[in-house]
Symmetry: D2
């Protein structure tokens, strides 16, 4: 089968033929139709410090995907060939204290597909049946393919209370854009979106932001204070990982507000802990992955009810052969980039 | 009356005679019996940057106190001359959004006695009746005088869930020491206390710490990992404000754990947000003041039930005339230092 | 001034001239423009057991109102003549344990206007300044007049987590109808509304219910199970007080679900505690009044953001002279009934 | 092997020889050392309506036990022969929405050992490895054998906030007695225990109750109001299932308080919903089983830290042959009754 492989340390990826995997008794074999390209994939291509420290090539990359079940293992129930599915990309150990207390998203022995083990940018992938998530009819294959980042966004928004609240989303990559739509559907009363890429700001507006702010040209704090009676925003959802956004978010969150951090800064970030956290009585929450499977049920429910339409976020589609063009696109301010394994687009 | 006054900008304090204040119709006049000395008072004495930026001399200092009601204003009900009382030192505005939504401890227009307005290191103080807190019989005047810092500790511990949990208290000044006792009484299963002053570590043990750690001589992370199956502690209560303690606490809190921050660092603190907050799914909470009046009811309840005895934390007592000796004591690793206005000690 | 007065025990109300009240130093005098008629007013008219046990005639009735400030007491700040306002109808004591711990809505010494003291169905009312709530420009006087019941609905919906959840509202009087709109705006994925009055069911649909159910003609449980994969609904908001609705709600709430009870049954209700509460791990919450003032801020925020339009619920308007016609209307399946004191309607 | 078997519908149990079970690849075979007798077992013996409706004889009964692993299935890791273990008696399906969202204790397809499938009153039992719970050295076999009911108690107490709170435990059977000890260790400031059996009231005192009340001879409400400034208790833990206790608990819980219901009433219970739930703003929680595995980790932590000693609750020990004497004992006000399979007692 075709697969996009990190063959060895260093820059680059190779699309090549590799043997198709075979499912064990509790696994599901999925024919991949569509995959989503993530910043993580770009880091792996570029072989940054994180990638060099974690990956053990060769490995098939990719963790956002959807497809159709081709075969189920002998002990699998609840899944059948022909089902359209995606999957939770974090394969949790199931036995650590985190897994056994409802926190599998921070499993200490997690293996992530496309990072720690072979992933989804291939014609077939094998997943543990417990990780496979059935897609409702009526949901397109493209949307199915981006449940992983959409789930990150649901996890983030659901970690805060946005009802009737003002919300600042810092960083309008795909996950930030999803957050805007989810917050809007959940009763946020005023949504500010900050981002340096103009195209993404337009997407932010399309997803429901009431006010878009380009911190390269406007004073974030001044804009927000002027529109919140000087109080600041109730909730900050930090999706960029930029030190400036983290610091700015802490600066403009109101006294007693909440800050959810998902974007990963590369280096340490100096914070004014006294002024911005303690004196204000602020709560910060680190957000990683998706809650298994509360996040997934919430996502299903919003999508099924039509509370959220994530499709405007999908701005680019490529065939798998054009993966390098796709990688370029995510560096130029694209929304979500989809690669098609099956030639389809929907 | 006698009062300890910051007369003008610069180092020092003066014990001098000033006119006694008079209560308004909704105020209570209290004859002060005992006062507690706080690090804040030392900062005011030394006139550090914070003090220079905030105080407008002349001002009578002091915010921890207890005494006996001498007179009540014409509209005051529920308080009477002869009652032993202390008071919430934060005079909240009562009308801001924080005050009106149960968050008066982060009132945007708070005035703190002994800082923004005349305080308690005097023979008499006038307090709004709403701030006055009646002391149950059976509670000593000394313990009454330290309800303010004890309340900081209650606010901190009650903000976390310590039941059956391992807890690290970083910084064993009086508030940290109180936290140890409160956590112990609240079902914490294992309490670690870190502090560089050996005398305070002994007090930590006396208050119920299972394991004391001097980070000057021991490796905090190594000690904690070795006693928590490598997982780290469930809860960190950071009471020191030292960058090293904040960073160390974030390092050793377990995945999914909670970090409550009360100690105020003077400068920005560089944090490894990705590794220590996001990847671990950690929650941080800034803690300031006392919840009005949930914290006070909790404090009353613990004290009345004998769940906590804060008296071992009181290590020094001085007459008000010896205030400079008292200030020296808090720089030499003392526990709580009490000044007597009435000559008594209990 | 004109006032609608319960003059003596027994059925009836009298519209008569009475002396206008005068504000004290911390009070606000309001010229009433519009009032809302509540089931409570009908109970007082009819002099049911509850009314007979609680009211001490003579008393001016009415607790839902809006108007314009005519005069403010000498100590009042933050309010001024000419402001359009409504008010929290529960005058809490401010000093009991509930009031001092953020639970003034269950103050043990509450006095309710129009019940315990003179109310709003009059040309003027005096309210404590702390209870007065300024209405944003852009909000109509009619909507201003129904903030009290709208607040009941906000209190109810905000007590549950409806995001992505299925919700059953039992009882589609005005408060139930408001709940539907608020739940819809807060991310509820599927809203069921049950009610025996067909006109109210149509209003329910207009407010956003996905499925309306008349339990007089349909099997509530069967309908709900058929549309929830047999699981039942996530959240029940019980607004009717009918034993059958309470029991039915408990029957169809899913395992682990939430039931918020606001409707007041007149008699004891037999519940299958084992089957419907314990085995299912269900949580029940009694809801009364409005949280002071979290509920009010949420209400302001939703209204200002246009997340909710409560106006379709207002189905009848009368001049104050026609109060008996208005009382008839609320017995015939009306939505909210407004009485005009000033001749206006908007 | 020996096993206590419900052979056919109707009263009685038979101790007889049956074939020992064999573990599957993900199972653990445990040699049972000690078992705990539960009211459920007595219901099965007596063949009450619940038992007749649920059990499908023949079935080996018993769900509270501890023993030593004899053999592990081929795919089992983390457990080894020789380990002392007990087990979660609820075998959850793992795939329903409850199981996948951290609520396996209300799994819709749960199978309970000793009820739905063969249980623990036998020389050997096979359990899924995921249900097996390793016992720390230092915990006696007797205490190991009662982790199931002790876990019910932990689930109950942990569902409320008892810190600095007054708590009423209604019903001092073993689970109620455990609740007293756990609440005491968790910072409850005043614990009331009500029970009609004098021997159990003495055990209640031994476990830490500050005040014991026999409702057959004292007025529960009067006693509690007199000791709570007329306010009532903060938290009620209802463990008896008696209608009178449920109603009494609701009567004496304070405004805004919490009521946790675990005891299973046989019939419907009439409740004054308006007066006791809605007007007071009370929260009720149905409690069933144990949270998997948060409850178990909490239990381990309390036991290991010595925060709780459940041993005084164990009042009777019998050899398995004397099971009928043991059943008599639980009808005569005993604490926990242990049956020994191995002849040991500790």
């Amino acid at each position: 089968m075709r697969a996009l492989v990190k063959e060895r340390p260093g820059k680059g990826l190779v699309l090549k033929d590799v043997p198709a995997p075979r499912p064990g008794p509790r696994d599901v074999l999925i024919r991949v139709a569509r995959v989503g390209l993530c910043g993580t994939d770009a880091h792996i291509y570029a072989w940054n410090a994180w990638a060099a420290g974690r990956l053990k090539p060769p490995v098939v990359i990719g963790h956002e995907f959807a497809g159709v079940i081709a075969e189920v293992g002998s002990e699998v129930t609840g899944h059948a060939p022909g089902d359209t599915v995606t999957a939770e990309s974090h394969i949790a150990c199931g036995v650590c204290v985190q897994c056994r207390t409802g926190n599998a998203h921070i499993c200490r022995s997690v293996r992530i597909i496309g990072v720690d083990i072979d992933g989804a940018f291939a014609d077939f992938i094998v997943m543990p049946a417990a990780n496979v998530w059935k897609i409702d009819s009526g949901i397109s294959m493209d949307v199915a393919a981006i449940h992983d980042p959409l789930g990150n966004a649901f996890h983030t928004v659901m970690s805060a209370d946005v009802r009737g609240r003002s919300v600042l989303v810092t960083g309008c990559g795909p996950i930030g854009l999803f957050c805007i739509g989810i917050a809007k559907a959940s009763g946020a009363s005023r949504i500010f979106a900050s981002e340096v890429q103009p195209a993404r700001l337009e997407l932010a507006r399309m997803m429901g932001a009431h006010q878009i702010i380009n911190p390269a040209t406007a004073d974030l704090e001044q804009v927000i204070r002027s529109q919140t009676d000087g109080l600041g925003v109730d909730v900050v959802l930090e999706m960029s990982g930029h030190p400036r956004a983290i610091r700015g978010g802490l600066r403009v969150v109101r006294d007693g507000g909440e800050v959810c951090l998902l974007g990963l800064p590369e280096d340490e970030v100096p914070l004014d802990v006294s002024r911005d956290i303690i004196f204000k009585g602020v709560t910060l929450k680190g957000i990683i992955g998706r809650r298994m499977f509360e996040t997934w049920y919430a996502m299903r429910s919003y999508l099924k009810a039509g509370l959220l339409d994530p499709r405007p976020v999908i701005t680019h589609r490529f065939a798998i052969d054009d993966f390098e063009k796709a990688l370029e696109a995510i560096h130029s301010g694209a929304g979500k980039v989809i690669l098609s394994m099956d030639g389809g687009a929907s």
